[in-house]
């Protein structure tokens, strides 16, 4: 059952903003390094490889304003973040220089996922059963890991921007 109040507390929004900013900072650093070291600077140059690798794109349609429902949006946000945690794990071995920042990114995404889950618990809207994540791509060459990294970071940036806009809206309701 949806709890009485339909909106998100300001403290949760403030904290989410901080966590989203940190994740974005981590990814900017990774993107800059991949561009400088491997000349992979534009995700649009990797659409073909992305299709070939079959990198899943977690849905966020419950968080778009016309269909914005608090519990459904938080749930989809949580599932999407869990999928991104798995995708980031698949990038392990991307390169020794990037590994520390990638580890930090994974921990930051895990922390934000935990923050969302905690908020869902507070609102008593946690799902009964957890979704099974689809098949994940396996990046079998260092080029595919780098290319996969560029695509994943690009999509996670967009995912987070949409998510934060929804959270801000849901905290002003």
């Amino acid at each position: 059952p949806l709890s009485s109040h339909n909106s998100l507390p300001q403290s949760f929004l403030l904290q989410s903003q901080e966590q989203v900013r940190k994740i974005q900072m981590d990814m900017e650093e990774l993107q800059q390094r991949l561009c400088a070291d491997y000349s992979l600077c534009h995700p649009e140059e990797l659409i073909l490889v992305g299709q070939y690798l079959g990198i899943p794109r977690p849905p966020l349609k419950n968080c778009y304003s016309q269909d914005l429902r608090l519990a459904a949006c938080l749930n989809q946000l949580h599932d999407g973040l869990q999928l991104y945690q798995e995708l980031l794990k698949a990038l392990q071995g991307i390169s020794p220089e990037l590994a520390p920042t990638l580890d930090t990114l994974q921990l930051d995404v895990a922390d934000f996922t935990a923050t969302i889950w905690l908020q869902m618990e507070d609102l008593q809207v946690t799902p009964k059963i957890m979704p099974i994540l689809g098949t994940l791509p396996s990046f079998s060459s260092s080029f595919w890991r780098r290319a996969g990294g560029i695509l994943i970071f690009d999509r996670l940036q967009a995912f987070l921007e949409t998510a934060y806009r929804a959270l801000r809206h849901l905290s002003q309701v």
Partner: protein, 308 residues
């Protein structure tokens, strides 16, 4: 061999020892008697007797052991010689007091939660400190998952750092330090903290500033300083408020501007500081704190010396 009532006892307590020397120890026939020694000091005779099978036995009680470390020797007195047959190490001290001043700080650069404490008076015994913690929720009423114990590194007795991968930065943990030795254990008060609420920021950077140019004239505005400040790179994602302080070199008191920066989402910028004496040298420092969410003040930035 020697058997003891206990090898580690509270300082000043009593200890009983018994020594048995079996007959097939060739020396026993010529033995006069068993003699006890504490370190190098011979002790008054213990209760002795010889069993039918020739085993020599002696018991002794030391009423108050006031040495934190001593060696008890069981010797055989023979004509013209004293032979040490067996030794036992004795230790005395105190059970640990609860560690106090227990506090933790989240270090974003090293990505560790570093906890510190003051240990009580010396126990004279090897005392192990262990930081124990649990992931938790709400106000730590329920303990969720245990976090691996944190054992201080050699040389850093009263400090321990937990890597961030072992907890969630935005979730409560219940944490305390336990002191333990052979005579007992004691715990500090338990803290219920959200690591990010105890984050200590890296100090900001105050850069050399150009004396502020008068709009339209080449002379710097009198009594003004143009500051360039930059928040530490590792904290750029945190909303912060910052203080500035300045003083004449050599003077004791600082003039504090608090807040100096607030609500400014920028990570770097310029600021003109006016109302100062003309042609005077000033020392400036800046510090920041996570705000409006809670945290600890950074250290003051390295000093910047400027002349108006």
């Amino acid at each position: 061999g020697i058997s003891l009532s206990a090898s580690v006892i509270p300082l000043g307590a009593s200890i009983t020892a018994s020594c048995t020397i079996n007959p097939n120890c060739t020396l026993t026939e010529k033995a006069i008697r068993i003699v006890w020694r504490l370190d190098l000091e011979q002790l008054p005779e213990g209760w002795q007797h010889q069993r039918e099978d020739g085993t020599l036995e002696s018991n002794i009680t030391l009423p108050h052991l006031n040495l934190t470390h001593a060696v008890l020797s069981c010797c055989l007195l023979l004509p013209g010689t004293l032979q040490v047959i067996e030794q036992a190490e004795l230790q005395a001290g105190y059970p640990p007091q609860p560690p106090n001043n227990f506090s933790c700080i989240m270090n974003l650069t090293a990505q560790v939660l570093t906890c510190q404490w003051k240990s009580g008076p010396s126990t004279h015994l090897t005392t192990i400190f262990t930081v124990k913690s649990y992931k938790s929720k709400g106000n730590c009423q329920s303990l969720e998952e245990p976090i691996p114990d944190c054992i201080p590194r050699a040389g850093e007795e009263n400090q321990c750092s937990i890597p961030r991968s072992q907890f969630h930065m935005y979730q409560k943990i219940e944490i305390w330090v336990k002191a333990e030795n052979m005579l007992g254990e004691a715990e500090s008060p338990h803290l219920c903290i959200n690591p990010m609420e105890v984050v200590k920021l890296e100090p900001p950077i105050l850069q050399a500033a150009k004396a502020m140019l008068d709009p339209g004239s080449s002379l710097p505005q009198p009594g003004c300083l143009q500051l360039q400040w930059k928040k530490a790179r590792q904290n750029k994602h945190l909303e912060q408020t910052c203080d500035l302080r300045y003083q004449h070199p050599g003077e004791l008191n600082w003039v504090l501007m608090s807040p100096f920066l607030s609500f400014s989402p920028q990570n770097e910028g310029e600021h003109s500081l006016c109302g100062l004496h003309f042609g005077t040298r000033y020392v400036l420092q800046m510090r920041c704190i996570r705000w409006p969410m809670s945290g600890h003040w950074s250290d003051w930035s390295p000093s910047l010396e400027l002349t108006t």
